[in-house]
């Protein structure tokens, strides 16, 4: 029977493994991300969440298949690319917001320069044009643009995350990867950053993969949820389904453990 609903995934992982032997971190992970959708990945520390995200960002080598449904990349296994091509794909199609801003930003450069940098790397030759686009991205990330000249070093944790977010969306990546984007922020700041992410999802139709140990954060954003345990996907489904009718014992414990 053919499904009346056919749509090609934007991103697909098939049987991805990372690490070796007893230290294998990902044990055959498969997943799909569709255009305009937010996929939440939950699991405890050590489940392989961050490793998965780094593989998706082409930052870590891995075995298996990773394809992006983007022009020029159809059918190409990104994990088999040479390092130079991998970097190119990452710069053009992917963006990652990290938990710790200092791992992603130049803390001493102005926030505006931080956001403009990937645009210049992607071939924008006019600095003025890059600055204008960077300012627009800062505004989309709800960053107070009058502070765009200040370096991240002097900014609060919440504002640093907004600079990261602006940097990530400035060049309109095909997939936005988020690694615990609100972990470690004050509750109120965390809520505001989530509001921004939710607004971006609605306004720009961004496709995202969100990794978090916080079910509340995932519930607020995700359309579908994938549960990772010891490097394996133990459950995947609609967000409300996984949270309200969890099947796997681990997911049931996780949902029960909510405060």
């Amino acid at each position: 029977m053919t499904s009346p609903y056919e749509e090609a995934p934007l991103l697909r992982l098939e049987g991805v493994r990372q690490g070796y032997g007893a230290r294998e971190v990902l044990r055959g992970v498969s997943l799909e991300l569709y255009p305009g959708e937010v996929l939440g990945v939950v699991g405890e520390s050590g489940s392989g969440k961050s490793t998965l995200l780094r593989v998706l960002y082409l930052e870590l080598p891995a075995e298996g298949r990773y394809t992006l449904g983007q022009p020029g990349l159809e059918g190409l296994n990104l994990l088999a690319l040479d390092p130079y091509r991998r970097l190119e794909v990452r710069q053009r199609h992917l963006a990652l917001v990290r938990q710790h801003a200092h791992e992603a930003l130049r803390m001493g450069f102005s926030s505006l320069a931080n956001v403009a940098e990937p645009l210049l790397l992607l071939g924008e030759r006019r600095y003025g044009q890059a600055a204008t686009r960077a300012l627009a991205a800062l505004e989309e990330a709800d960053f107070p643009t009058e502070r765009a000249d200040e370096p991240p070093r002097v900014l609060s944790g919440g504002l640093r995350q907004r600079v990261q977010l602006a940097r990530a969306i400035a060049a309109r990546p095909a997939v936005l990867l988020l690694d615990e984007p609100t972990t470690g922020l004050d509750l109120l700041v965390q809520a505001r950053v989530l509001d921004t992410l939710r607004a971006l999802k609605g306004r720009l139709g961004l496709s995202m993969i969100l990794v978090s140990h916080d079910l509340g954060v995932v519930r607020a954003l995700a359309d579908r949820i994938l549960v990772l345990l010891e490097g394996e996907v133990v459950e995947a489904g609609l967000a409300d389904q996984v949270l309200e009718d969890p099947q796997h014992p681990y997911t049931q414990d996780l949902v029960q453990a909510r405060l």
Partner: protein, 237 residues
């Protein structure tokens, strides 16, 4: 017909307790476009669980849910998640007793949001949201308030306005009138009557028969509550 449910069953397996709970079983019924099916039965009979299975918040354990969507007949019980998301966006509605709390958003924004998702222009969406809030009788001074701290009844009006602002082919109603005052319940009844005339099929749980007077085409009695069954040893894990 728009819906054909056959031998539907929902069981929960609680791993920690090594126990199985039957929400309902052996349910079969059909629904025509524009028809209204009332679910009746004691607490714990599985009425809400049935609605959640139809909306796919719960995974049905056994049985079939044939649904005639705009895309043709499909098997809802086994539909891929992507298809379910698309159906929810386009034609399948669910109104609960509770507003999914969306803090830091005004009532008007909460109601307009589903239209924005559909690509309706912001000014149009806000105008229609205001009309909808007026229809359910929310006082205008609350339109710009955050729903979280306002009274339960007012919050439920926001919830209803949000749920009913766009058309559906199949609308699932889980006690939407529970916390409403007399006036709002009458407004809801009138609105549902209008949807019915437009051809929306509805399945609902209502504890006051007057809330759906003149709307009900058929009633399905759920017998429960079902007794928890000890599960087979070794089934856990």
């Amino acid at each position: 017909m728009i819906l054909e449910v056959a031998e539907l069953e929902k069981r929960f397996f609680l791993h920690r307790l090594a126990r199985e709970v039957v929400a309902f079983r052996g349910l079969s019924f059909q629904l025509a476009p524009g028809a209204f099916l009332l679910l009746a039965g004691p607490n714990g009979a599985g009425k809400s669980s049935l609605l959640r299975c139809l909306y796919r918040t719960y995974r049905p354990t056994a049985g079939r849910i044939r649904y005639r969507s705009l895309r043709g007949w499909l098997e809802l019980a086994a539909a891929p998640d992507r298809l379910v998301l698309a159906l929810r966006r386009e034609e399948l509605g669910y109104v609960s007793q509770f507003l999914d709390p969306r803090p830091r958003q005004t009532a008007l924004e909460v109601v307009a949001e589903p239209l924005l998702w559909q690509g309706v222009e912001e000014s149009v969406a806000r105008r229609r949201a205001a009309e909808m809030l007026e229809a359910v009788g929310l006082r205008p001074e609350l339109w710009a308030a955050y729903p979280t701290p306002v009274a339960g009844g007012a919050r439920q009006k926001v919830n209803l306005a949000r749920s009913l602002i766009r058309p559906y082919r199949l609308l699932l109603l889980d006690e939407p009138s529970a916390s409403l005052d007399q006036e709002a319940r009458a407004a809801l009844r009138a609105w549902l009557g209008r949807l019915k005339q437009e051809g929306t099929a509805m399945i609902g749980i209502f504890h006051h028969p007057e809330d759906v007077a003149g709307l009900v085409d058929a009633t399905l009695f759920l017998e429960g509550p079902y007794v928890a069954e000890p599960s087979a040893p070794g089934a856990a894990g």
